[in-house]
Symmetry: D3
Subunit: 283 residues, 6 copies
């Protein structure tokens, strides 16, 4: 994924507009003369960084010559107390952009940091950590970018760029085989078919219908291990994904059960913000 | 706060567009005939509900006759296992809106639920729980609405609708008194002046300069208690707000220290999503 | 594919705005009283119909109660001289929407009509006619819809929803094998890999690297036949697509050479508009 | 006509967004390092060029330093095999913009090429070739620009910038005289009045009512010749336009019949795309 | 001119958004229960009404069932003290829309009222009162509509829908004749050519070059009278327009000097708002 | 207040689009070669300048290298005949932007000039001149900026950034005390409460309920004087504002009656445009 500069500018403009409204009345009142200032971004806890480009765009929207000078790159681990970037520009511009830039960095780095914890937890296995579509409305591109920065991989970006037949589809269609057959007949020729199964019977049905990928939903690590054995024996090329009820505590068990992918909704929908501050001083 | 229907429609359209892209290729492939279906929203944990109108708008954007029938209102406590709303409409529309509606409800109810925990923790004291501007970029109006649903109160909505002189302003201006005097001279006549102080000296300076509200930043409950005594003795009408390092564990100590307001960033920036599912069936 | 009503409304609004500008000064000048009129859409040649919903939206944008009453559906063959739809409403609204509605219907039906000619030309073979990304800028969704109405199938909708390694990629990467291997390593797990080859050596390389689909570019029917034999012998499940220099005259030869898909750019980039008129009369 | 740079940027952004969606997944997968490349635009057939500025804007939207170096200008005749422009920039940017830039150039040059054929066919007569409002929805400004590049002239741009009383107006108003009189009474003082007539009786009526311009619709060259004689005898300053059923084969007969203008819908609605390719190589 | 409902809705939405921002905090604070109210629009001075539809749209944007019941139509004279319309709906909606609706009605009725004074001042002469392009930025369509409501006529709507060669053009081109000849050669065939002249020499030059309309700029009534005589003697069909330094006091002199049109910038750029109030009561 | 460059660009783009439509057909016709020209902005009357930055943005939207060179700043008094700025660029760009730039400058300087007259009229008293929300729809930010340039002060910018309980609120709530009490209970803690009173009884009620500010509406200077005495005796810190029926003739009487603020709707809703011209010449 690559964040295009026009898309970044559009997002940053919306974020700034939301906070700025008709203008920063406090800053306009207390600053009487134009003064150049410097701001230092400080990590108040250990974290994995994500969002520097967005923060940069936030200041750029306010005034073009303001740019962030970074001492670390997105994806890097930052230690508590480290100054990882600084920004220089008109004091009122720094004050106007401060909160928005911090909100972006804290949120995205929060996701990268939590993702990294999951990725580290499965280190040494063949399993890759995937995100889901359980993202904050309006922020999917940014959040999926943060997942990459944390060492994770991206599942599909929306309903249009991948096929995943889920429990509610199956409830309406009736059975796994019919759903897969219909999909194969009607989909574009570039799409693989993934299907979600909740037990071993559905797994066998999916294998019989030649699903390309199978999502093992809400199974215990033991069930997943058994599912992997069945699938590998029947169709060694089918990719297997585990999902549901997976936590930092049990994620390694799932990885060791042999799946190719583990998708974790919490890395986007429940990652707490990390603590970052911006300290502004005159030059 | 009142969510206007045109604003709701605009947000819901953006949220749907983000997930839908060029269309739901899975649903188009597996559903062969138009069929009416029903979806039931089920709480998978105890929670305080927020976001029903937004979820409603999400389906409304897709097809106008689809509407949510609610068995509970925003702000109500829902028990694990309860079906709190249901929706009826074309099956493909329910499937297209499912994830977006859930993402909204889970995120906003997460904020309402965490806010309610803080509000309950200070029950019986005079302190009110406030949110901050530490919200997810692009979602401030919705998140501040969720705070209200959890029993909290809203601090300012942006840099333009309230005056709060913070540490970075003071670093540039030099001292509390100068900042307050400038603000009083240059602000519109409808604005009160709030100033952030980090110790008792600054507090006394703020009181001497006749600040209307004083934010006690990052103080221990004991320091807050002393600050309250000093302020009440000097200027009984000045409102006092505590902020910084406040958790569910210590929030009551701050409330009992006598402040009027306690602002908590975590209720918007770090509230985990609550677990809600949508179960779709044929009628 | 399903044209959402909000997307239709947006497109129709832009189309009308382009033609209407600040208003229809002729109609405003010559019509003195409000009068209800009726318009009949007449095919001036044999054609396959596409775009009724868009034409309907064009009038709907101008005035909501105006709607098209259709005597035929998109995808149907219409005979020269047939009245396939009529519209009733204020005379000035019919006059304002006339040209835009006709421009839409003539363009999309032109695509459907040409597509149908290709589809008919390969009738009885296993080959499916595909469109390409060689569409008129701004109209891809509508044009791909018209292809479906003509009995064709859709290739990918954009650069983001399918993988196709083309000659320019290969020129930069160096060879087919490297390109396929990189793609397999870095793509999301839901994507198949299609690669374009221009001779039998590249075909063999692509088969060796386990491409999921292979596009045979600019080959003669004889070369295609040989390619099909090689591919079927090596990897019977690999799908084969022919493209380049394919006309109505030779398309059947390509189909009979045994490919699964034949993609034809001309059905979108060079389909002449069909002749349709709107005859407006008082009621 | 002059294409403003902001309008160009807006159009190019929409065109790119349509093709790019959430990103070019193929290029992101197969290109591993940032590399500068060069692309050469090659005419695969004789053509009249149009659209270089739009193609330039397409790459400019993706990354600002990318610009086209042109060896020919819009409006020039290009020979098959000629390299008429080249572009240099990051390889991924060239690959992302390739299809959109080509779609623009092929479509607009197609229009310019067909227009030039009509203009050449009437060379030496006084007749000018005009376009119509039968343009592709959303592309009118660009297509009318391409007509100019092919040596044609522009009829009105929309319903608001010129008066043309057509058959459907006459059907509602009743007769030519009434329509012209109403228009004269109610139009702004800067507008001329053109009226469409389908036989010599209507022509005489239009001349009697002092129309400023008369469009001779769907007449044979012989009828047109007679109409010209009648009009020149009665009102020598009235401008005459022929339209309807005009092809490359018969356009000169219409020109030689003595009209001032010949309008041809086909130059915009049915011009086939010309064949242009972009060949990308490393530097 | 006809205000389209979608254009009205767009304008009304922007106007409301400008005043409402994040919400009407006063009304939300003081109204505790939902209550239906009625508002009466009262003329506080004699005026000519304009803008009822826009005011209607303003309330419609806020809540769809709210509509204005009008006792008078745009263009009618209203007496001081008259209630010319009333509106019924939720009290908070009336309060939110009050100021915006009044701002629209007062501004547009101000223009209609001043226009009517000019029109009345030339009653009985052949002269028509025209507006100019000296309108308030962003409001041209509405202001030109108000001019019509006051009995005036509209000059061109923008630089694209009429040709007027002005002093600055002449300063760059050199002389009147060259400018007219160039325009005739290069303009579309539907356009008349108007030229601005500031003395009788330029007038004669414009007549010699066969201008269609001539604007007599900044002349005294006496000069205008002489110009009219010259023009009528030379080219009786040429239309004449007077402009510049025209006031309510001297406009009749210009009319009696014999021109066809008198354009007055002040009716749009300097019309004072008329006094209208909205009185809201419970039902 | 500070006009952000992106907001300026957006406004300027809309203003230019309104006037330019599909292009300046006059200039395109009469100018045959690209030529650089210079324009001088000349005050045709004494005025206070406002809007230079917006005029600058208007030309910037058309072509980026065009910029205004200013010899005076917004807020300065300009004498009749003075050239206060000049602009240099392509002649066609100057001609395209001329009317829009002038419309902006004439309108905003008109407001600044009238505001300055009111400010001068109360010179030497403690009273400050305030604007109101009676602004031209769509132009509030610019008009409030012009008020500042004329030496005035800004009242609230919209319904969301200040509390003012007005007559229509009181009609619905019943009495002043209830309204103030509700507001105090439900408003955010950063807001002051202003209430409008129309007689001395309501004034006393407002003082008793501890309003922060009181607007004395439509009172004579004598009533205002009495109101001031009552208020100062009761609550010396309460700020007092006079409004309604205030003209240049009587504004000083209101100021001398002792109020802190005088709000005048006419400075925005009825300021006549001042006369400014742009004279363009070749270099």
């Amino acid at each position: 994924m690559r964040l295009s500069s026009s898309e970044l500018f559009k997002l940053a403009s919306e974020f700034i507009a939301e906070d700025l409204g008709r203008g920063d009345i406090t800053t306009q009142a207390v600053l009487t003369t134009a003064v150049t200032a410097r701001g230092r971004f400080i990590a108040k806890q250990d974290l994995v960084l994500a969002g520097l480009e967005v923060a940069d765009a936030v200041f750029g929207v306010l005034e073009s010559p303001v740019e962030i000078e970074a001492f670390a790159a997105d994806g890097e681990r930052i230690r508590q107390g480290d100054v990882f970037a600084r920004v220089k520009g008109p004091a009122d511009v720094l004050l106007m952009g401060e909160r928005t830039a911090l909100n972006v960095l804290r949120h995205l780095s929060g996701i990268a940091t939590l993702t990294r914890a999951y990725v580290d937890a499965v280190a040494g296995t063949q399993a890759k950590i995937l995100d889901t579509r359980k993202t904050t409305p309006g922020l999917r591109m940014l959040e999926k970018y943060a997942v990459l920065m944390g060492g994770g991989h991206n599942h599909r970006f929306g309903l249009d760029d991948g096929v995943l037949i889920k429990d509610n589809h199956l409830a309406l269609v009736g059975d796994v085989r019919t759903a897969i057959e219909r999909a194969r007949r009607r989909l574009g020729h570039l799409h693989k078919i993934e299907v979600e199964v909740k037990n071993l019977n559905e797994l066998r049905e999916a294998l019989a219908a030649s699903a390309d990928l199978i999502l093992l939903d809400n199974m215990t690590p033991e069930m997943v291990r058994e599912a992997v054995q069945i699938a590998r024996a029947t169709a060694p090329h089918v990719l297997l994904e585990a999902s549901g009820s997976i936590t930092l505590d049990n994620v390694r068990q799932y990885a060791e059960a042999g799946v190719d992918y583990i998708s974790v909704g919490a890395i986007t929908h429940s990652a707490p913000a990390v603590d970052i501050s911006l300290k502004i001083t005159t030059i």
